[in-house]
Symmetry: C2
Subunit: 229 residues, 2 copies
DNA sequence: TTTATTAGTGTAGATTTTACACTTAGTAAA
DNA sequence: TTTACTAAGTGTAAAATCTACACTAATAAA
């Protein structure tokens, strides 16, 4: 039984972020080229180290903000990766977080001020250390989470079309969905508001825009409703 | 961009284990009375600190074995708890793991050699630090995991009756299940073997014993089967 | 031999999921 | 202004799954 903490080993704790975006057709992740050794010049998740006066959520937000200028997005802790030699330079553990970004809203700030680059999930370079494993685990978690919570909307503009939403789920779940069945399902959930506004980009006819109604959703949850796609 | 790791803060990393058992009627957790300050004399999860030459899975197994004599059980990393003042004595983070134990098989060694005690999930003392939160999160994860993976069997003896299995799921999911529907569902999964043996304890008639057929399950998974209860 | 107790079994109705094809609205080109 | 083009939008029948429900069977103890 341990009494005196001072005999215990301390470790460096990194926080690495899998940042997801969605752009019309593809689920994407935001990567940076590492500019220091080891693995200098190779692609990497965004990361940093936990400081002693912050918790992990704060660290993840700080790191995301520092490297991208982005604030206030959906983030969730994923897993603590701890293999002894995962970082050849020194013993570090890394707590992975994933974040959901609305690409369109943040494209400017990202490309103007930071050296990050978006890659399609279906075709991204291999990453340093165990970062590939982190991405795979993040995708699995994202699949589960988007099926049980209405967080997919975080990846879309505030106003979106049914086709965008469907395409998003198809991409995340990696399966083709039937248009009518999908719309019927979504409508039956009754957590969207249909706007009197059309998106005219995707077709001549134009398609109606919808918004996620968070207030309605929360009220329904109070009454026992649970989202399930 | 960080270059020299030596300027970064290091932290103490604890590993705490939520150890689940199941005993006829109730889901239980194994707790110990803390015998050092702070919070001496209060009930606590089993924990210890990560050593620099082991990964978290190893640490969790070592701690479990050291405090209970138990080896080779199902364990899964849960979450990394990191609130700055969660341990008033010193800044520590804690990675929670949960374990599934077949109580009957381990009762002897536990009560003979160690000072741990089983408590019903429905009625256990309040715990030190953020350990109550850990337990709640572990229950939620257990609920999800047992619905999507055949790990419930880890909590039962190798040979078990349908009623035991049903009672187990009822307890974990916290809802009453219909006997016939449950059995039909389980049978349709086709991953159990019925033995020519009866358990005569629970009734005069006796009830047939079953075993989980891991080989068959794995073969089915290969072919695209997925467990879902 | 009777009694008491839990094990074990099937089905009809309700609900949910799936598969599937044509019309409409609007733009752009002729 | 007519025509052609493109993606949006809509409903239903069949299949699959889920749910509710009650009696008989086997055995040990009295």
């Amino acid at each position: 039984m341990i009494h005196d903490y001072s005999f215990e080993d301390k470790v460096l704790l990194a926080v690495d972020c899998i940042i997801f975006g969605f752009d019309e057709e593809d689920l994407q992740i935001l990567l940076i080229k590492r500019d220091f050794e080891p693995e200098k010049g190779n692609w990497s998740l965004m990361g940093g180290f936990l400081k002693k006066d912050e918790d992990l959520d704060q660290a993840a937000n700080r790191i995301l903000h520092h490297l991208t200028g982005i604030n206030n997005v959906y983030m969730e802790q994923l897993y603590n990766f701890s293999k002894v030699n995962r970082d050849p330079a020194e013993r570090t553990l890394s707590v992975a977080y994933y974040a959901l970004i609305n690409i369109a809203e943040h494209r400017q700030e990202l490309t103007e001020n930071y050296s990050a680059k978006w890659f399609k999930i279906s075709d991204y370079p291999s990453l340093i250390f165990d970062h590939d494993q982190m991405v795979q685990k993040a995708i699995a978690r994202l699949r589960y989470r988007t099926s049980t919570n209405p967080i997919g909307f975080e990846l879309l503009p505030e106003k979106f079309t049914m086709r965008q939403l469907q395409k998003l789920y198809e991409t995340i779940l990696n399966e083709k969905l039937d248009k009518r069945n999908f719309i019927n399902k979504i409508k039956s959930l009754d957590i969207l508001v249909k706007l009197n506004e059309k998106d005219m980009v995707s077709s001549r006819k134009g398609s109606f825009l919808y918004k996620f109604d968070a207030k309605k959703y929360n009220a329904k949850v109070e009454e026992g409703f649970s989202f399930r796609l």
